[in-house]
Each structure stands twice: as C-alpha cells, then as structure tokens.
Symmetry: C2
Subunit: 385 residues, 2 copies
C-alpha cells in the first residue's frame, strides 16, 4: 500500500426527514445563499423544506446552475455573495450544484482572477466560505469530498480543482428526495458512481486489501441494485443504498493509498465540453474501450475484477478479462446508457476534435502510469466509435 | 437502513516514516504531554522519534498507562496537565494509551468530579483538550473514533464513554512501528478488530448493503491475513492491511445506520475487571457462546456471515450457522487465543461473580434487542466454561 493522508470532516445526516437538521447546522445569525439548478428543486418542494428549516435567517436564492456548472454563471453568484454580504452557502441539488457551490465558496474569498483556482488545480485557494449541501441526485460524491469541476463556456474548457477548504461542513442525504428523479438521471448516477470506483480500483495491485474489498463491495451493490432502481423507483432501501454507495465511491475511503486512473474522466470531460453529453454517458463511452486498450497494464486487477465482482471463473485469463469488460458495458447498456460514440451521433472527425481539446488542456500523459498519450487516447476513442 | 449521523474529523497519516508529520500537526508553541504505556515505547525508539519530531516544543512525558487504563493513573496525568499548563496531548501506544488520553483530554477541562464523565457515558463532556496519537498496536480503532473505556480499580469497574469532542485531531499509523509487537499482542489486535466488526454486523438485516459488504470485506481480510501475520511477522503489507482494517473496523464506517450488539464487549469488560484477562481474550471467550445463544434472533445475518465470509454453502441453515460459529472459534484458536473460561482457569463460581458485576453496572438488557438479561448472560458464560 502507498503511504497516504486521509481527512474528511464533512458531517453527514442520512435518512428520511433529515432536512430539518439544517436548523442546528447553519449558524443562527448566518446570511445564507441557497444555490440550486433548474426548476425541479422548487417543484418537488425541497426548496420549501430548506427555507422552512432556515427559519428567520436572511436567505437569498440563486438558481440556474447548469448540469455542467459554468464559470460564467457561478461568477454571478460570487458577485451577489459579495454585494449581499452572504456568509454561508447552501447547495440544494446534485453534483453540479455542489461543485458550483464549492467554486463560489473559494472564488468569493479569492484575491485575483478566480479562473486561477481552476488552472492551479485548487492549489491557490487559501480560504473559502463555509457551506453545506442537501443532496437530491446521488452520483458524483461531491457532497463528501473537496473536489469540483467547472466549465468555462467561452473557452470550451472543463477543469477540476480540489482543496481541503472546500469540504462541505455538512451534507443532508435524504433518499426520499431522489424519488422524483427522472430515470435518465438515476441511471447517470449509477454509472457515474461505478466509474468513480473503477478509476480507483482498476489500476495495478499494491496490496491494499481494504480498499480493494470495499471497491468490490460497492461495485457489486451497484450491479445488483442499479437495474432494480429503474424497475422499482419508489423503493426506499434501494435508493438509500445507491445514495450511500455514490457517496462512499468518492469520499476518499477507497482511494487512499492506491494508484488512480482518471483518464476516463479526463477524456469524458472533453466530450461534455464539446458536445454537451451528460457526464456519466461520456464515462460509459470511454471506460470499456479504455480498459480494452490498457488491459496489459491492468491485467492483474482486471482478473481480480472478473473474479470478485463478476464471479467469472471460466476461460483463459484474457477471456475472463474480456468477459468482465463486456459485462461492464452490458451493465451500462442495461441502465439505458449508450456506450458508443455512434449512439450520440459522433464519429471519426469528432475523435480528432476531442484529441485537439486534450492537447490544448495538457491531457497528454493520463492514467496510473501516465502513459495514455494522445495516440492512445485516439485508439480508445476510435475503438468507441 | 436506519437514519444516521456520521462525522469523523480525525486526520490520518498512514505509512512508513510518517511520525515526522507531527511537526506540522502540533501547534509550534504547544506545551505537550506525551502519554505512553510501558517501557516498549522507549526501547523501540518510537518515543525518541516522537520527541525529535516535536523539536523545541515544551514536552513532558507521562508513562505507565496500564493495558486497561485506570482512572487512578489517569487522574495523576490530569494533575500534571493542570500544574504544567499543558495544552496538547500526544498518545503514543495502543488503544489503552489512546483511551486513557481521551479521558485525560476530557477530565482536564471537566468541572466537577471527572468520574461523572464515565457514569454519564460521556454526555457531560462539554469541552476537551486537543490531542493526537501515534499508534503502535492496531486493535481497538481508538485512533479514529471518539470512544474510550476506563477502569476504576477501587470499584472494579470498567466503563465506556464517548463524545465527539474526543476525536483525535490526528493519528499517525506507521505499520513498521508494529514490527516489534509480541505475538500475543498482535493476535489480540486481530481478534479485537474481528469482534468489533461482528458486533456491528451480526444482528438483524436492515438492508444496509454498504455496511454489510464492508464488514464482510474486513472480516475476510482478517481471516486471510491474521495467521499470515503470525507466520511472517516482518511483512510490511500484511501489517499495513491489518492496521488499516482495525481502524476501519471501529471508525463509524461500518456501524452507521445499522443495529449494534455490544454485549460481547460488555460481558468481556467484566471478565477483565475481575480477572485482568486481556481484553481481546475476553471477547474470544464470549462471542462464540453468545452467537450460539442468540442464533435465532441473529438467524439471517448468521446465514449471510456463513455464506459471504466463510463461503459455507452446504448443509441445512442450522448446520451452516453452526459451521460459521465453529470456524470463527477455530480462527481465534489458530491465533493462539483460548476461547473457553477453563483456558483461563475459571469455572462455574466465576460465572456468578461476573453476573454480579453485570448486575451492579446495570448491564441487564444487552444486545440489539436489549433482551440479553442476566439469565441469558449466565447461559452464555456457562456455555463458555
């Protein structure tokens, strides 16, 4: 196992009717901005519940944060925060709203050009506003980590940052708040969580027994419950387990002390930036091809994945690995998510456009061995046509 | 899954040569008390390393914290803390030293009689000194939780307390520091961690998929690596994995949102208080008999335990459950730990003495259903003779 540092101070309140905990979690004299996305937070009544829990505090709402939150929109929130002397942020939504809120928390306190937060990968952040979250779409794990991804429309750039100062102070996870999710978003969440796990698991073995067993456990739960969630959309326990899996998938627990391979995300981000494809769908396109193109380097972990997650024991090693990848791809398809570029009307020319983006953003040495260069990214994307 | 709150702000530094992180973790102007147990912390050089990392800070050492830390000893530390205006504590040792340090942290700031900290189960703690830990004996998980157990010799009482204010600010987990452990302590640690897991897992099903899979993963690692650790005492990866399992076994991760059954610990504590038997050994005595006496109530989870942890698929349900319990008992014995009262020269009369203790301490409704009364405790202990 690699040496590691682990720290995660986010307080979780999980379960039915936990939104009212907000009242004891937000300082009573706070001036609060509630950030959210589209109209669903209002329609479902979640915003009302939040406002009720906030009681007599000064509250301003900031809606309209996009599915891939943009720098342009978020900077409007930063302006309002400064104007209205807001001192506490409350994100109500999924990963995009929470990621956006993290950026607002850091940008509002940032001296200089806030875009530098992104170009420094968060390294330049020295302070941030306190904030909490009310999660309505389990997927990204953003509710319990200190990472964020922001898109700058004018540059067609989607860049991540991370900094300990943007851990949420608290997150409210009420599975009943996910009952109103469209099937498409539910499926996206399952696939997003799945790929978060494989990116911390499908690398090379370093004898990290806990992280491996935990990753394998989470993957098995997604495989078992993902399709059931589509079939039984009002089942509390299924929703609750999927919600907690998505959080545990990216809160540091399975990722400490092991190599990571975020190539699928990095390539996927460019597909979203260029073509506005749902984040999770870009991952479903990239992952199977990436695993096939890197199966020599990932040989041992892919065999373990085949054995412990998919329970594949028959065949040669190569056959077991291919079966595990095929099962993974079939699982995404069973969740209603296309795994080919053609499913999104993209082809050979688009591959070149993505490569240009990767080059522009310096994404030329991806993967746990930093050997996924532009040529290999081309192979991966071509295989995914 | 039950509703739950989860919060764990302890910062972990895990791996080789991480003791020097102390320098950046302890305030540079802190007045530090280093608390430890016997002479091994000095002999192994760990104390020297800690002192070196603390540099020019004011440091006082407080040694002699017992394997079951006593109120009497700890109150001497509290006195010194007050006299010398100590403002940061650093525990160097295993669960006993860390538990003791938690008590000192709370007692030094406590107004009134500090024994009330124990009799109120920690509820009366309103502030506590900051402290960190350097773990040398993985077992109890105390390095990453806010619970503690203290023995008051004069009353022959061993009582637990917990309070969020006694989370360690940081814990240093360097697996190489466990290389010098005697075999007995290594075995104790494995069994202690194992029972911590079963006490949060072997109750009744509440559809908590993540907690179940994680618990099963940790148990499988202990079963695989425990005997290997005895056979290959200098293997870094084995030690590292056991260390991290013991921490994850009791840091809240597997225990949130599920029923608990701490009856094995509560009965075991009385065996330690009366006969000074190693904590882990008392658990090894109680658990197999407790599972046999409660196998109807725990039926479903015992079947799951047999299937997923021990991979027992043959036989009737009762046979599979008995095989899983027998395997568990054989695993403890394979770790060199006796599982019968007779192994410690105790018999029928001692059972009655333990029952008297349980009654005196109000331990008359234990277990996840609060139905382990004195009569059932007698059955459990009698079966363990």
């Amino acid at each position: 196992m690699f040496n590691f540092a682990y720290y995660n101070p986010t307080r979780i309140h999980f379960g039915k009717d936990t939104i009212n905990e907000i009242n004891s979690l937000v300082p009573s004299d706070a001036r609060v901005m509630v950030l959210f996305g589209g109209s669903s937070a209002k329609k479902t009544g979640t915003l009302d519940e939040v406002n009720q829990a906030l009681g007599n505090r000064f509250v301003v709402e900031f809606g309209g944060i996009e599915p891939n939150p943009t720098y342009e929109t978020l900077m409007q929130a930063v302006e309002q925060v400064r104007e209205l002397k807001i001192d506490f942020l409350l994100a109500v939504g999924g990963g995009s709203v929470i990621d956006g809120t993290k950026f607002v928390a850091a940008a509002a306190e940032f001296e200089g050009e806030p875009w530098d937060i992104l170009t420094s990968w968060g390294g330049k952040v020295t302070k941030a506003m306190p904030f909490g979250t009310v999660l309505t779409l389990p997927a990204t794990g953003s509710e319990m980590n200190c990472a964020s991804v922001v898109t700058r429309k004018s540059l067609k750039a989607k860049l991540p940052f991370r900094n300990e100062l943007v851990y949420p102070q608290f997150s409210i996870l009420d599975p009943t708040k996910t009952f109103t999710l469209p099937e498409r978003q539910l499926a996206n969440g399952v696939v997003d969580a799945f790929v978060h796990i494989t990116e911390q698991y499908l690398t090379y073995p370093v004898n990290a027994a806990v992280q491996d067993r935990f990753a394998e456990g989470l993957l098995q739960i997604l495989i078992e419950l993902g399709p059931k969630a589509l079939a039984q959309p009002q089942d509390y326990d299924i929703r609750a387990n999927l919600m907690w899996v998505a959080t545990m998938a990216l809160n540091g627990t399975i990722g400490t002390g092991v190599p990571h391979d975020w190539a699928t995300h990095m390539i996927g981000h460019e597909l979203t930036a260029l073509y506005d494809i749902d984040h999770a769908r870009t991952l479903a396109i990239v992952l199977p091809s990436l695993l096939r193109c890197t199966k020599t380097a990932k040989h041992e972990k892919l065999l373990q994945f085949a054995d412990r997650v998919w329970h594949i024991q028959a065949g040669t090693e190569d056959e077991r690995i291919e079966a595990a990848i095929a099962n993974t791809q079939a699982f995404f398809e069973a969740m209603g998510i296309g795994t080919k570029l053609a499913d999104y009307n993209l082809g050979k020319d688009d591959v070149e456009a993505v490569l240009k983006q990767l080059e522009d953003h310096g994404m030329v040495a991806l993967g746990e061995h930093e050997n996924i260069d532009l040529a290999m990214s081309r192979d991966i994307l071509t295989l995914a046509i």
